[in-house]
C-alpha cells in the first residue's frame, strides 16, 4: 500500500501533505496530555515495532507469504492518536532510510496507513468489543477492527488513485498520473484487501492480541467507553436521520438496475437475468416498507431497521464467538490513552 512518487498529481499530494500538519499537531497534543515526558521512548519503540512487524513474513495459503501493517494492533495497545504518530514515524523512516514509499506521497501514505487504518480499526474494535470484560470477544473484535481498518485504508488509496484521471488529464482525456478511473482503482484495491491482505491482517492481529491477553493482559485491557465512542454513536444517528436525502437522487446506482429498468433502457432483459432475477423477494423492496406511504419516512424507517439488524447480528455474533465470558472488570493501564 506504500504509494511511490509519480502516481499522485500535485493537486492530490500537496493537499494531503498540508492536511496532515494539523492532524500531527493534534495527535502530538493528545499523546502529550496522556503520556507526558515518557512519550519519546514509547513513541520510538512503538514506531520501531510498527516497522518491524511489517518485516515478519507470515505464511499464507499456497506456500506464499505476506506481511501485516499492525496499525490497528498498535491502536489497541497505545490508543489511536499514539498509533497515528508511531505509524507516521515508521512510514517517514521507511521513505527516508529504506526508500520505500515516495517523498511527495508521504501525506497520502500517512493518511491511509497512519490515520484511517488505526482510527477505523480502533473504533470498530471498541464498538464490536462493547464493555465485555473477558478477552474472547475482544480478540474477535480486534480481528474485525483490523480487517475493516486495512480494507478502508485500501479503499481510500483506491479513491486517491481513481481521482487522478479526473484531476489531471490532457485535452483528449489522457490521464497524466495513475491511469485508472475510480471504477477500476477502487474495486482493484478493495478486492485484493478483502480477499487476501484483510484476512491476513485480521488473523495476525487476533493472534497477537490472544497471546498478549494470555501472557500480559494489562497490555490489552481497555478503558471504559469514552467520549469518542459516544461521538461515533451520535455521528451514526445523524447519518441515519440524513438518509431520506437519498430519495432526492434520481435514477438507480450504476450496475444495480432491475429488470424493469433494463427493459426500459435496452428494450429487452437478458434471459439469464430474467430467469434468476425473481428467485428472492426482499422483505422491504427498494427500502420502502409497504405499510408507509410517505417515501421519506419509509426510507428513514428502512435505515433504522437495517442498521438495527446489522448491529444486532454483529452483537449476537460477538456474544457467540466470545463464549459469553464474564470475568471481573479490568483495571485500565496507565500508559494508554483513548
Amino acid at each position: 500500500m506504500h504509494i511511490p512518487d509519480g502516481y499522485l498529481g500535485p493537486q492530490t499530494y500537496a493537499v494531503l501533505d498540508a492536511a496532515l500538519i494539523p492532524v500531527w499537531m493534534i495527535a502530538g497534543s493528545k499523546v502529550k496530555q496522556a503520556l507526558k515526558a515518557k512519550q519519546v521512548p514509547l513513541m520510538a519503540l512503538a514506531a520501531a515495532f510498527s516497522f518491524v512487524i511489517m518485516m515478519f513474513n507470515v505464511p499464507v495459503l499456497g506456500g506464499s507469504t505476506g506481511h501485516a501493517v499492525g496499525a490497528t494492533l498498535i491502536a489497541i495497545l497505545l490508543g489511536p492518536w499514539a498509533a497515528c504518530i508511531s505509524v507516521s514515524i515508521a512510514l517517514v523512516i521507511q521513505a527516508l532510510v529504506f526508500g520505500d514509499g515516495g517523498i511527495t506521497a508521504i501525506g497520502a501514505n500517512v493518511l491511509n496507513m497512519a490515520v484511517i487504518m488505526p482510527f477505523v480499526g480502533y473504533y470498530v474494535y471498541r464498538l464490536a468489543s462493547g464493555d465485555a470484560p473477558g478477552h474472547g470477544r475482544r480478540i474477535v473484535a480486534s480481528g474485525i477492527g483490523a480487517f475493516l481498518g486495512i480494507v478502508t485504508a485500501a479503499i481510500a488509496a483506491g479513491v486517491e488513485f481513481g481521482l487522478q484521471p479526473l484531476l489531471a488529464h490532457t485535452a483528449t482525456g489522457q490521464p497524466l498520473y495513475a491511469p485508472y478511473p475510480l471504477s477500476v482503482a477502487v474495486p482493484a484495491m478493495a478486492i485484493e484487501h478483502l480477499l487476501f491482505f484483510g484476512p491476513l491482517e485480521a488473523a495476525v492481529t487476533m493472534g497477537i492480541v490472544a497471546v498478549l491477553a494470555k501472557q500480559d493482559s494489562a497490555l490489552v485491557e481497555m478503558k471504559p467507553a469514552s467520549k469518542p465512542l459516544r461521538w461515533l454513536w451520535a455521528g451514526f444517528a445523524a447519518l441515519v436521520l440524513l438518509t431520506p436525502v437519498g430519495v432526492l437522487a434520481p435514477g438507480t446506482a450504476w450496475g444495480e438496475w432491475g429488470a424493469d429498468e433494463l427493459r426500459r433502457t435496452l428494450g429487452f432483459v437478458p434471459a439469464g437475468l430474467e430467469k434468476v432475477g425473481g428467485l428472492w423477494t426482499a422483505a422491504v423492496p427498494d427500502y420502502a416498507p409497504a405499510f408507509i406511504a410517505n417515501p421519506f419516512v419509509g426510507y428513514l424507517v428502512a435505515a433504522v431497521l437495517g442498521s438495527a439488524a446489522v448491529i444486532g447480528v454483529t452483537w449476537a455474533l460477538g456474544r457467540l464467538l466470545s463464549g459469553k465470558e464474564r470475568t471481573a472488570p479490568p483495571t485500565p493501564p496507565s500508559g494508554r490513552q483513548p
Binding site: P4, D5, G6, Y7, L8, P10, Y13, G28, A37, K38, V40, P41, L42, M43, A44, L45, A46, A47, A48, F51, V52, I53, M55, F56, N57, V58, P59, V60, L61, G63, T65, L77, I85, I89, A90, I93, A95, L96, V97, F98, G99, G102, I103, T104, T170, T172, Q174, P175, L176, Y177, A178, P179, Y180, V184, A203, V204, G207, I208, L212, L219
Partner: protein, 293 residues
C-alpha cells in the same frame, strides 16, 4: 566492514522442492535490511558530489526535483530527469548497477506492472500498435504507461539519492534545521536505533529457530510461531520504552531535547541550490513550451 549477515542456505532446512525455510528467508531479509542501512551510511561517508552538500540544501534541492518531476508531463523531459538522477549518482560515486537495480526493484517493476493494463485497448482505446484482441497495445495507452513508469523511476531515483548519500544523523540535523520540532527529531533518532535493535532481535529469533529445526514445518506451525514472536516483540517494545525512559532520567533528562550541532552552508551549497532551481525551471519551461499537451 559489514558484519556477517548473509546466511548460506543449509540443506537441512530446505523443503523437498529445495525451497528455503520461512525462518531462513525471513532471517536473510532482516539481515539484508540491517546491511542496507550500514552500507548506506558507508556510502554516505565517501567523498562525492551529493555527499559534499549541506544536508539542508540537499534536502530542499531534491524536494524541488521531486516536485518538478511530478509537474512535468512530457516523456522526453521525464527521461531527461531520470538521466539526471543517474548523472547525480555517478558524480556521487554511487554504484550505478546497484542504483539502477534498486530504482527498478522498488519503483520501476511495480510501476510497470501497474501501468501495463493501461497500455492496452481495454483501458485506453486508440490506434493499435500491437494487435492482441482486447489486450492490444494502443499508442495513447503506451504513452500513458511510459509516462507513469518514467515519472515513478525519476521520483524513486531522486529519493534514493537522499537515502544513499546522506548519513542518518545529518538528515536529522537537516530536518531540525528546516523547522521540524526537536521532539519529533529526537523520536525519529531513537526510532532508527530501536529499529536496528529490534531487527537484530527478530533476526536472531529466526536464526535460533532455523538452527533447531529438522524440517521446514507446516504452514500452521510457522504461522503460530510467527504470531507468538510478534507478540513477544510487542511486549519487549513496551518494556524497553520504560527502560529507555529510566535511562534518560538517570542521565539527567529534564524534558528538553538538546539541539543537534548547527550546520554551516558554503558558497558551493548556494551555487548548487541556484543550479538546482535553474534546472527545475528549465525542465518545466521545456515541458510547457516545447512539448505542450
Amino acid at each position: 566492514m559489514i558484519p556477517a549477515l548473509q546466511h548460506m542456505g543449509d540443506p537441512a532446512t530446505r523443503s523437498r522442492r529445495g525451497h528455503r525455510s520461512l525462518a531462513r528467508r525471513t532471517a536473510d531479509a532482516l539481515g539484508r535490511a540491517v546491511a542496507d542501512v550500514l552500507e548506506n551510511d558507508e556510502l554516505a561517508s565517501t567523498p562525492g558530489l551529493m555527499q559534499s552538500l549541506d544536508p539542508r540544501v540537499k534536502l530542499v534541492s531534491i524536494l524541488a526535483f521531486a516536485v518538478a518531476t511530478s509537474l512535468v508531463h512530457s516523456l522526453p523531459v521525464l527521461l531527461g530527469l531520470t538521466l539526471t538522477t543517474v548523472a547525480f549518482a555517478a558524480a556521487s560515486k554511487v554504484p550505478l548497477a546497484s542504483f539502477a537495480a534498486k530504482v527498478w526493484s522498488t519503483a520501476g517493476f511495480f510501476g510497470a506492472l501497474l501501468a501495463a493494463p493501461a497500455a492496452t485497448a481495454w483501458i485506453t482505446p486508440g490506434p493499435v500498435l500491437v494487435p492482441l484482441g482486447p489486450l492490444s497495445v494502443t499508442a495513447p495507452g503506451l504513452l500513458i504507461a511510459a509516462r507513469l513508469v518514467t515519472r515513478v523511476a525519476a521520483g524513486a531515483g531522486f529519493g534514493l539519492l537522499v537515502v544513499w548519500t546522506t548519513r542518518w544523523t545529518d538528515l536529522l540535523r537537516a530536518l531540525s534545521a528546516v523547522g521540524v520540532p526537536e521532539l519529533v527529531v529526537a523520536t525519529l533518532a531513537m526510532t532508527q536505533k530501536q529499529i536496528m535493535s529490534l531487527l537484530r532481535t527478530v533476526e536472531n529469533m529466526h536464526l535460533a529457530r532455523e538452527s533447531r529445526m529438522l524440517s521446514v514445518g507446516t504452514v500452521h506451525e510457522n504461522r503460530g510461531w510467527v504470531v507468538e514472536r510478534m507478540a513477544f516483540v510487542a511486549r519487549r517494545s513496551m518494556k524497553t520504552a520504560d527502560d529507555v525512559y529510566d535511562a534518560m532520567l538517570a542521565r539527567g533528562f529534564d524534558g528538553h531535547m538538546p539541539s543537534l550541532a548547527a550546520l554551516r552552508t558554503r558558497a558551493a551549497d548556494w551555487g548548487w541550490l541556484l543550479t538546482s532551481a535553474a534546472v527545475c525551471a528549465l525542465a518545466l519551461g521545456i515541458d510547457r513550451m516545447v512539448f505542450p499537451l
